[in-house]
């Protein structure tokens, strides 16, 4: 029997995803029509013998529980939300709910960070884990030398794939093999976490922590994995599958493109078909349109577009490289590109909503999504995708360029390179 644990964080996490995460928890933000974390659930349930998925995080239960119930209905697997009383770190939450995880004696469990996107090769990862008799197996991938510094960097024994060294976000170059935040763990990992926890509790009681962190807070990467390097218990499977983190809002459009691409082989029925093939408007693949969305026959959609439930797209309107969320409406003859249109927002006619893509350079192998800060050194807004928060109104005949509009705003003019509070 197998289980999966997905760490979804909480409202204080994922703030770089604002304003998209202001009205919906980031794990529930739809990418290619499905909540971010549903793609992870889908990858997990594809494994034979997987009987339970546990979502661990510190969002209020009311925000996640209905989703967990819905997922359980759809996939016919036990799916539970376990709410931490506070942020306990990547290993602290795991340890806090150890009895739940160990219940039923699973042979092992997948452990995934909730903000990763990938064509998850979970079967290979689990086979590899069994073959190596590992305590923990890490899915690894190649990064550029420069970008590796933003990730957990791993050094391995080339012959055995054993992890010999681990540094989280080093300040100088260590290795281009990075941690994907996707693991297979044996239940014995709780002995190791338990021992670390006891030591931390001791120090906490003696006041060494100086109140800087919660009792029970443990970081998986620095406090569990790094010390286990070179002990013959941690193995790394390097993979070449597409993989990305979702940090900034810009990475949502990048992830949307890749999930749509994966639909072509895995779920072709989720993709909109071109005119003449049963679909009513012009489609440049890949495009996902919710069946309840209303698209005018003269609209032109794609590539890389997702349109959510109840959304409407008017005559002669063009959407490309964009995500249109639930109940948003875009009037006639407008153009939306490299942008996200929030839930229930309205874009007038002959309006142009445009952002600047920040996709990884496709000509540089192993390049990952950059998540540049909002402002550059001169204090100017870095050009990024345009984000229209929920219930925003963008008037007719205006342009909204490289801007971020927070929810519930009624714009009255063209906006360029601005954040509208």
């Amino acid at each position: 029997m197998l289980k999966a644990v997905i760490l979804i964080g909480g409202p204080q996490k994922g703030t770089r995803f604002r304003p998209l995460s202001l009205d919906i928890p980031k794990p529930l933000f739809p990418i290619a029509g499905l909540p971010l974390v549903q793609h992870l659930i889908e990858a997990c349930v594809a494994n034979e013998g997987l009987s339970e998925i546990l979502l661990i995080g510190f969002y209020p239960s009311a925000q996640i529980q209905p989703f967990a119930n819905e997922m359980q209905q759809i996939y016919n697997v036990t799916i539970k939300y376990l709410q931490e009383f506070t942020a306990l770190g990547t290993a602290g939450g795991l340890y806090h709910f150890r009895d739940q995880i160990r219940f039923g004696n699973p042979e092992g469990f997948f452990l995934m960070n909730g903000d990763v996107c990938s064509d998850f090769p979970l079967k290979e990862l689990y086979e590899f884990h069994k073959q190596k008799k590992a305590l923990v197996t890490i899915m690894g991938t190649e990064a550029t030398r420069h970008q590796s510094l933003n990730y957990g960097c791993i050094v391995t024994n080339r012959e055995t794939n054993e992890m010999t060294h681990y540094v989280e976000k080093p300040s100088s170059y260590v290795s281009t093999l990075i941690n994907c935040g996707v693991y297979v763990c044996s239940p014995d990992i709780f002995h190791t976490i338990g021992a670390v926890n006891n030591e931390l509790q001791e120090r906490y009681r003696n006041g060494y922590m100086n109140g800087t962190r919660e009792a029970g807070y443990i970081q998986l990467e620095q406090e569990i994995l790094a010390p286990l390097a070179g002990t013959g218990q941690i193995f790394v499977l390097p993979v070449v599958n597409w993989w990305s983190q979702i940090k900034s809002a810009g990475s949502a459009i990048y992830a949307n493109r890749h999930y749509l691409q994966l639909y072509k082989t895995k779920f072709p029925e989720r993709l909109a078909r071109s005119k003449g093939q049963g679909e009513t408007c012009t489609i440049y693949p890949d495009v996902h349109v919710d069946p309840t969305a209303v698209i005018h026959p003269s609209a032109v959609l794609g590539p890389n577009v997702s349109v959510g439930p109840g959304a409407t797209v008017g005559a002669g309107t063009r959407l490309k490289e964009s995500i249109v969320l639930r109940d948003a409406s875009i009037d006639d003859r407008s153009l939306v590109m490299h942008s996200i249109i929030g839930r229930g927002s309205h874009v007038g006619r002959w309006t142009r909503v445009e952002g600047t893509p920040s996709d990884p350079d496709p000509n540089k192998p192993f390049t990952k999504m950059e998540n540049p800060p909002l402002f550059n050194k001169d204090g100017r807004l870095n050009p990024s995708i345009t984000i229209v928060g929920c219930s925003v109104s963008v008037p007719s005949e205006t342009i909204l360029l490289n801007s971020i509009v927070l929810p519930n705003k009624e714009l009255s003019r063209s906006i360029k390179n601005e954040i509208i509070l």
Binding site: G316, R318, R333, R352, E354
Partner: protein
Amino acid sequence: MSEEGKRALILVGGYGTRLRPLTLSRPKPLVEFANKPILLHQIEALVDAGVTEVILAVSYRAKQMEEELTVEAAKLGITIVFSHETEPMGTAGPIALAREHLSKSTKPFFVLNSDIICDFPFRELAKFHEGHGKEGTIVVTKVEEPSKYGVVVYDQNNCIESFVEKPQEFISNKINAGLYILNPSVIDRIELRPTSIEKEVFPFMATDKQLYAFELQGFWMDVGQPKDFLTGMCLYLNHLRETNSQKLYKGPGVVGNVLVDPTAKIGSNCQIGPNVTIGPGVVIEDGVCIKRSTILRGAVVCSNSWLESCIVGWKCHVGKWVRMEGSTVLGEDVIVKDETYINGGQVLPHKSIATSVPEPQIIM
């Protein structure tokens, strides 16, 4: 003064650099303003006032102008004389250069700067000039911000006292409108060299109490640069609405004052206007919105594009879902690819634009 033998000198002059990139393809006087070459607006008004001989002071691209205007002259039944400058002669020099033509008779002659658009009052001007009997009359027009111009100061009888360049304190809101009527005697005040009529001739005439001001009624604009060209077009179309409204286009999707050549084609679900001129052979596809713009002969604007305050040059091709604004000027035969945004771009002829230009820029 008899209606016979009236003459006018039009100062066509230089390269028209302020109206580039349009003037790279066509001499400025031939650039169509409200579907008619700027110069023809003036010549036709002169003909209406009885002028039979028009002298064009030209220094550049005279050949193209001669060819096109000779045809027009024949149609109007007048003589057009080209007075060639071998070097730019300023605003007074050309008068001296054309002495031979201008002093043929003792009757006064008109002088015009070629960039001026207004409701030309030549008949009234000639009558006023005759009335005061002095050497010259300047047409003056009222402006809101006189500190940007040179203003004209005159007494209650309209006799000009002085000219003040860019006054810091308000002394007058009347400026020189670039239209004059002068007696041939004025030619003797001008040396045959590059010289300025505003600075080197008029002030002395004013001192001699020989210069009067004629107040222009209605609109006036120097259309020598793109922004003013569009403002002038708005004023002109509004004037057309008041005086000759059957010339304005009526059709589905038209808003306000719009002038459309009969050979232009406009698609369905468009919104054209206010203040738009569409030239001969232009094709506007479905779902296009155009405001405050001029589309010159043979241009194509594809579906779902949005244009405001633009001049689209001859034979340009503007793609689908294009947005252009901010006094964008496309030179002749420019291609703007689908989904591009151009703000305040000045695009030289025969360019193809595939990436957006969000800030004002010259595209070579």
